[in-house]
Symmetry: D2
């Protein structure tokens, strides 16, 4: 089926382009009978909004959520929940210069290679603005998860070479939202912030890492062959703009380890360690699910770059548009949203696993 | 839908348990009219077989492919291609001791948490033996890709701390199959081999990394929102037993980079570099697709380990069964197979992208 | 997956309730590069609108289509085409009396049995108003079909016992839209109209039949096991409100026939007859596709009816709301829309059937 | 996705050609923990077998079911249940004459139009032999339904012009299997049998009707927009070879009825009548589900017929192969199987409808 949907039983379909009428989506499969808090959904949306952190762009997008269906008297009806966020402050003329030029690191040329046509304004549908719809879907998913005690928390664990070394269990995730860089590690706030400011001043950008912790997950979630729980989480994360890598548990570090070091001993009180990251054989084991997501530096920079125009001629691009020097602060709600979507889908799938 | 299928248009469904009647699968959606070389499929299957490398287990599994449908007079009919590989040398009694005990690092406990029942013999369906069916499906996919000039090559780029530093473009992938460790880097063969032998002598296991290169990919493959080409590749890889991480292009290294370093300049002759790994915005850009897969050390080791039995009582496990000290040599054909499956699916999907 | 989507490659997802903010949908998988005529889409929507025929209800619903995404400068972008039709003239208070009562023949009680909750206003999502979104999706599908020469025409072939006996090939389908009853048979207009008026005067309703003819279909469409072309058409038709039966070709009449009477002889110039209705073994054979759809009489009538309230107590219902005495005149565009959706989906699927 | 699968959560994929190695399938999504009776499955398979009724062909196909996976110690494991039925008595040479000729009424020409290639032996995959795999899948589904009290019974209600007029509630469905014509109406056995024998003597064939009754269905099954319960039943039935029509409840008879006659009054003790056939708005209402399926006369007849060869030249076909003069006696288990598959799928889907 076409690629604008995710989830088997709790399915989000998104639509919309950066400079079209709006961005939105349809959640199909949300169980009936959920008392839904739309203000909480709007609150999550606000966290993703440009301008929500002082380290981001100066764009002002009010991003008001309008729900078109599926909720009556504050209760989900079992019917599709459609929503739209109207676009505003879309200065399309800013992008006129890009109509004939492909930006390095962006999807401008590949979209045109694929479809033969392209909406060049702000990246069209390849814009990270699409993720606003994911945040709404994820926020609805989170409200279903709440009833099951599943909690999803992400934070920025690395910006450039500045890495937080605090163990997740020692973090207070409430802190994430108190600083512009969106890290839950108090010691990391300042060096991360300074690095981003420095990079911005250089007209450049920098990569980052987001770590996510999911607590309260019942054992047994995940379909253990192709739809392993971490495989679905991995796909969800890799589908976010600018993501280049995904690791579950000790991930790439496990390469250099021995089995005797890496296995989690099982004890009557649960696993003694959690190197697996909460998933074994694709199925949740009841421990916290822990994974990491690598984001590349934002492709739009103020520095001049070599590229070609649509005629294939070499040109030098001086960046236009307004962009973040580092994407991870604004990507934290998106990582959480995608994790919520995957978890709720597998929570529903598990209802059919046994007679 | 249930989780034993992968692919939208070229769909592989696998079935079978380690010690049941056999392992097999159904490929639905293989285009009609392909002259299929079943010996070549068997050849790929042989590469994955236990005993295929001197560094693996001593098990002898003949793994003879039987095709049940879909091929007539050597040509695919457009109908499902079903196949089965009968199990043999399945010494189920070896596993009697495991009926009441959960092996650390394995899916024994989580499968039982999920389904309430478990086939404990050799891990049942959680056994890596299931991947034999993936290799068959991937080998069929590869024959479709051949007609489009797409070539998929993987090799072992790291075992434990021993890492190959040769650039992919300089490797001769034909070399991969000439050594038991399955690396295309001549300088890595010996240290990798020695490390695996050392680990085996210790009764332990070690992790590894596989790097995959896909050449000849036309620009335009990938569905650019949730089904980004690298998101589907990532899910496919993360669904392989023991995989803990996936990275496209420069992956986690991009975290510490600046945009001005990381962007690939576009020139009239193509991209000047390939840090993106051949995919931009989820769509292939015509460059080589390059990704890495991290494998944890094999969970089965000869050393004693703490665990619990089905009654929840602490016990010490002395490993039974026969296993590899390092999974990556045998996983190379599996990585290639999964990559072939994803590529052919998107090749077919691309046929419907334009009017 | 949840049940608000139809189609594999050209997929329509609909949303919305009768008295919520609006009705709408998302078309995912429309090929890029189609010059789309939104006025033509609005025109089809107008044909379905209450008040579009003098035989329908007095409700005035302007039903203005707003496209939210997927179209730029009049061209489809390959991205989802989302649209919404705002609800208006929704006199919800008309339905207050129905909050505690289940209407016979309607889905009031079954929806509540299923979901535990219900939006009673105008039937909520079970209202035929949902089909407005289908008409939009179908009208977009039709514009794709136009490029392939496929033409879809339906008309009312029966109202109550009044049946048109003209052979389809002799009909001028342009006539369908010139009369309120939506029949292409000039001789049937008057008796059908009189019957509907008589039934209306009685405060009653009457059933009907719609016959559909699809011309210009290339041979080879349809996936010949579970997704036979007529099986998908049948499901699409049976999913329309009030439909109770579907027949392809000579349908139920074939029961009493002998093979020697029923087989279509194949000649060098094509089939000599078309009893099969254009499909053989689930695959189009190049002849016209012909099928029939049976609609029950509208459940809402002015006469008093026995029913129960939510407490299970017997009550007598005097109908409220405004409804049609016969649904088929307004259902013609819906039948056409569903047929277009199925055809375009299989047209795209056929692109992947061969190497 | 490709068309050889049916069901969302309980999914059957079938494979195999009439004269290949065998026919089989994979059931994915069968809940774990079901004690499965494979003899009962074999028993249902035997009912469909050629030679199972004295009115069918003389072919002897032992049709022995082999289960390859998914069942351990008689219990379903939650993993895919794969099975194969080896082909035997496949006299392929009987079909040599058909290699270059298209049989009227069959899918010979359309398959070749679709795929460009064809396995002409016994119709290849278009053979009704494929339905053996459906019967196995349906028999497994039935064992899941048994635990919920859902009972599926079908019988032959019409052969040619001979129609049973007994109300379903008065039938003893156990009788169906006691006569070769597979009707539960004692009075119909003789005239139906005589008609089939007469048709056979003429070298001709005749159509028929199967009526199906499903009892014990809980209210609330069905996804009420596109996946209405009767829409999914309709598709399932229309996907059976030779089916030309489907009707739920009073079906085509409702066309000529008035709403005041057709509505089922709701009473505190349930509906007073069941004209709707157990489904309202696409959702089961707790009454018996009743539907009818129209089968055309078998296309293979002994009489000479006009057709063309692969070169497009007119030829006269004298039938070869061994076939039934009337398909409905052997189709009864197939109708039941497809109904079981649809019901169990919606039974599982309903588990996720509410919070």
């Amino acid at each position: 089926m076409p690629g604008n949907s995710i989830g088997q039983l709790f399915r989000l379909t998104t639509f919309g382009e950066s400079h079209g009428a709006g961005i939105g989506g349809v959640v199909d499969g949300c169980p009936a009978g959920l008392r839904i808090d739309l203000e909480a959904v709007q609150h999550e949306l606000d966290r993703r909004r440009p301008g929500s952190t002082t380290l981001g762009t100066a764009r002002k997008e009010p991003d008001r959520l309008e729900v078109l269906s599926g909720v009556y008297e504050g209760i989900t009806m079992g019917t599709p929940i459609a929503f739209v966020i109207r676009n505003a402050d879309a200065r399309s003329r800013d992008y006129d210069a890009l109509k004939e030029v492909y930006r390095p690191g962006h999807a401008d040329k590949t979209w045109e290679d694929k479809y033969g046509v392209r909406d060049h304004r702000g990246g069209g549908r390849s814009s990270a603005r699409e993720t606003a719809a994911r945040v709404v879907g994820g926020a609805i998913a989170r409200q279903v998860l709440n009833g099951s005690g599943v909690q999803v928390h992400a934070h920025v664990s690395q910006v450039g070479a500045v890495r937080s070394n605090v163990r997740l269990a020692e973090l207070d995730f409430a802190m994430t939202w108190s600083n512009a860089v969106r890290t839950a590690d108090p010691a990391a706030v300042r060096p991360m912030t300074e690095l981003i400011e420095e990079v911005r001043a250089d007209g450049d950008s920098i990569g980052g890492r987001i770590t996510c912790s999911i607590t309260g997950v019942p054992a047994g979630l995940g379909d253990p062959v192709f739809d392993k729980l971490h495989a679905d989480l991995g796909k969800a994360m890799l589908s976010i703009n600018a993501v280049k890598g995904f690791a579950i548990g000790n991930g790439f570090d496990s390469i250099a380890m021995r089995g005797s070091e890496n296995n989690d001993a099982i004890t009557p009180a649960g696993n003694s360690t959690n190197r697996a990251g909460g998933i074994q054989g694709g199925i949740s084991n009841g421990e916290d699910i822990i994974f990491e997501v690598a984001f590349k530096p934002v492709s739009t920079i103020a520095k001049a770059q070599e590229t070609v125009d649509r005629a294939g001629k070499a040109v030098v691009l001086e960046a236009a548009g307004r962009h973040d020097p580092c994407v991870v602060p604004r990507a934290v709600p998106i990582v959480e949203a995608m994790a919520c979507l995957v978890l709720v889908d597998h929570l529903l799938r598990q209802r059919t696993a046994r007679l």
